[in-house]
Symmetry: C2
Subunit: 436 residues, 2 copies
């Protein structure tokens, strides 16, 4: 049911490859990000689980094929192609950086090696899956760093780019170190901790703030978080303090949160509620979190929504999925694209992480035991090599990988890859001349 | 299956309202955008069809309820609430601006009037649905305007915030005037025209550019669009011209497209292909489209992707869903939130569009035949009032509404609404004092 979530040209090309007899050619496509946005020292890979799930389940249903047959560019395509599409399964190999891996511009984060058509059709879906979650994870890792040990909860579903994007944003943010999300479906589907107590409408739905607080306390007990800024934050803090235990604490969602959190702290402390916590939310991002932390505000947790779930300062990654080589019955052809601004290097690659640098090399290189090959086998022959780790283990992996990552980190091409590129270029130029 | 795509606090509050005996209270919530982003003279409403579809189908499945019962904040909730959730249906009323309606900051674009719990639970999903599609539509209407009659195709799925966001971005862009989308699922699901022929990988998958062009022409005939910038744009244009008819035209995806389109035009014309068209794509937005059009470049169509599908210069709308009033057995209580930066006006509203201004008034006002009430009944008692118009008719509606919209357009509150707000404030203050 997701097979049609793709750009039409993937299917037009599939039909063309089929017509041109290219079903036996094996292609290697590489997914990488051309440029890392400002204010991101590195990116965090995420979305692999959804990408693999898609590849494992990719089928064209009869009704979808009927629709394609009626569509203008595919109307003349011979019956044999539709039969091919009916039997379509992804039978290829996937290599990828594990979710949570820090990566840099130009480094393939996912590699697909499959019969040409099988590798081409998933392009759009894979890009939208990996680029989006990696974008959110890369923003989240910054917010978490700025929070300096205080919990960060992802709150952004309402402003996400569709409800489903909100679910996946919660997942990506968690992998990158958030403590959890407000999105219940993300909890249900991925086992992520979920958080949330009450909104301003709760306070408003009762005849007075105090009555709303009493009702909340009776419902949630030790989990009670009073939202104290609906009418007047200081007065709200007093009402919360007056109700005493049980409570978790209070949340501020507007105003000068540094000053207000100090006032609220004093009020809570004066009421003997020294262990009551203060959470802050409301249009936060990593800079604001940094400022609040640096100001020494007595804040125990942050709720970060819109800017995190939409990566507002860099709301897309320049992710591409490029053909690196084609293997026709064992003979390799290395592929290039050298438009002025958009040159890519040919050949299937591997990314090697050394203590002090990354090296992008040919996939067959063995630069020795001091480096780790970041692209791991994920699927072989259309099947999972092993169970994927899931969001929680990916989160642990991410924390460890970020901790170990020495920065700044040059990213270099290997000698072998540069030599291969040069040979491929010479060969390509002569082929173009022959055919003109 | 979408019931859990919500913020946890919606469900916590639902449990609390249930406990507090508030199942008979009827609430009116209003969804509006606090602030229109820069470079958007107005916003375009979109997403209503998906919002309504969600409300019609909203159910909690047994497995989802089992998950909620295990979740920390809901663990102590009495059995009666879970029974309530098992039988949950949205039985309320919805008023909304039709998709394609231009709107402004502070104007409710969707109003939900329902038993309090039924109105509260959908908040997150409704916001993520309406705000996202309205955001994309509001960007698209600008791009289409800048294209000054040339076709604009939405190309952005690969950079969208998840594959599903790509589908919905294609829909929203079409409503706002795009000619179609590359997203096949958007075509399948919503009947939107779909476009797409071949990528750079197609050109690379053949031993030479020329062979790839021949294969494309043989596949697509009059629909052939040669992508000519894989290696050298001018040489690509020559190869395309040499192949002659049939073709639709060529596409440029990089470089100085103004200059290159002129060169390509000359080459095509010289080959007698005056009716062959030129399409331009590659990191476009409304400003670049304007520049290309103003430079008089011979461009017939634009493919606009990333910046459109992610609304890159304003990647979220400050959309909120606020409680306006509560009706307890016929007695109304008007609700306020007056935190410093975020004041809202109480009372259920209507938006009246006059020739030269908009007026936000009380929902019962009748300001006369020279104005149109923009919020129309969509659902009554949980049922659709009438079939929604679908993407194509919404697109016609949008074009007409935008054409008729005189700008600049002041947005004022009515006298009655301001008077109601003042009365509500006085009443509220005395209630707070009594309860303290």
């Amino acid at each position: 049911m997701r097979a049609l979530i793709t750009d039409l040209y993937e299917l037009t090309m599939a039909a063309g490859y089929f017509e041109a007899g290219k079903t036996q050619e094996r292609a290697t496509f590489e997914l990488f990000v051309r440029k890392v946005p400002e204010n991101r020292p590195f990116l965090i890979a995420a979305g692999l689980e959804q990408a693999v799930d898609y590849l494992l389940q990719l089928r064209f249903e009869e009704e979808e094929i009927a629709y394609l047959r009626r569509s203008a560019p595919l109307r003349g395509v011979p019956e044999a192609f539709w039969d091919y599409l009916r039997g379509f399964r992804f039978s290829g190999d996937v290599f990828a950086m594990p979710e949570g891996t820090p990566f840099f511009a130009g480094e393939p984060v996912l590699v697909v090696r499959a019969p040409l058509i099988e590798a081409q059709i998933p392009e759009t879906y894979l890009l939208a899956t990996i680029a989006f979650q990696s974008m959110v994870a890369s923003k989240a890792v910054r917010v978490v760093e700025c929070a300096a040990g205080r919990a960060v909860i992802e709150f952004g579903t309402r402003r996400a780019h569709s409800p489903e994007a909100g679910v996946l944003a919660g997942r990506a943010a968690y992998i990158a170190g958030c403590a959890g999300t407000s999105n219940v479906e993300a909890g249900y589907r991925f086992g992520i901790p979920i958080y949330g107590t009450a909104a301003h409408s709760w306070v408003q739905a009762f005849p007075s703030e105090r009555k709303s607080f009493e009702a909340l306390q009776s419902l949630l007990g030790e989990g009670t978080v009073y939202l104290i800024d609906t009418y007047d934050t200081i007065e709200g803090a007093r009402q919360a303090a007056a109700l005493g235990r049980p409570l978790w604490g209070v949340r501020l969602d507007s105003g000068d949160v540094v000053g207000l959190s100090r006032e609220a702290r004093k009020i809570l402390d004066a009421a003997g509620l020294k262990d009551a916590k203060i959470m802050v939310s409301g249009d936060l991002n990593e800079q604001k979190v940094c400022e609040i932390v640096r100001a020494g505000a007595p804040v125990d947790a942050f709720g970060v929504g819109t800017e995190l779930a939409t990566s507002a300062d860099a709301p897309n990654l320049a992710a591409v999925y490029k053909l690196a080589e084609i293997d026709v019955l064992g003979i390799k052809r290395y592929t290039w694209k050298f438009s002025p601004e958009k040159t890519t290097l040919p050949g299937a690659k591997q990314v090697f992480r050394f203590a002090d640098r990354d090296q992008i090399g040919c996939h067959w290189e063995c630069p020795g035991p001091n480096s780790e090959a970041l692209l791991k086998p994920v699927m072989i022959g259309g099947r999972l090599v092993q169970e994927l780790p899931g969001a929680s283990r990916s989160r642990d992996y991410c924390a460890q990988a970020v901790r170990r990552l020495a920065l700044p980190r040059p990213v270099r091409f290997s000698e072998d890859l540069l030599a291969l590129a040069e040979r491929a270029r010479v060969k390509f130029d002569s082929a173009q001349e022959r055919s003109s």
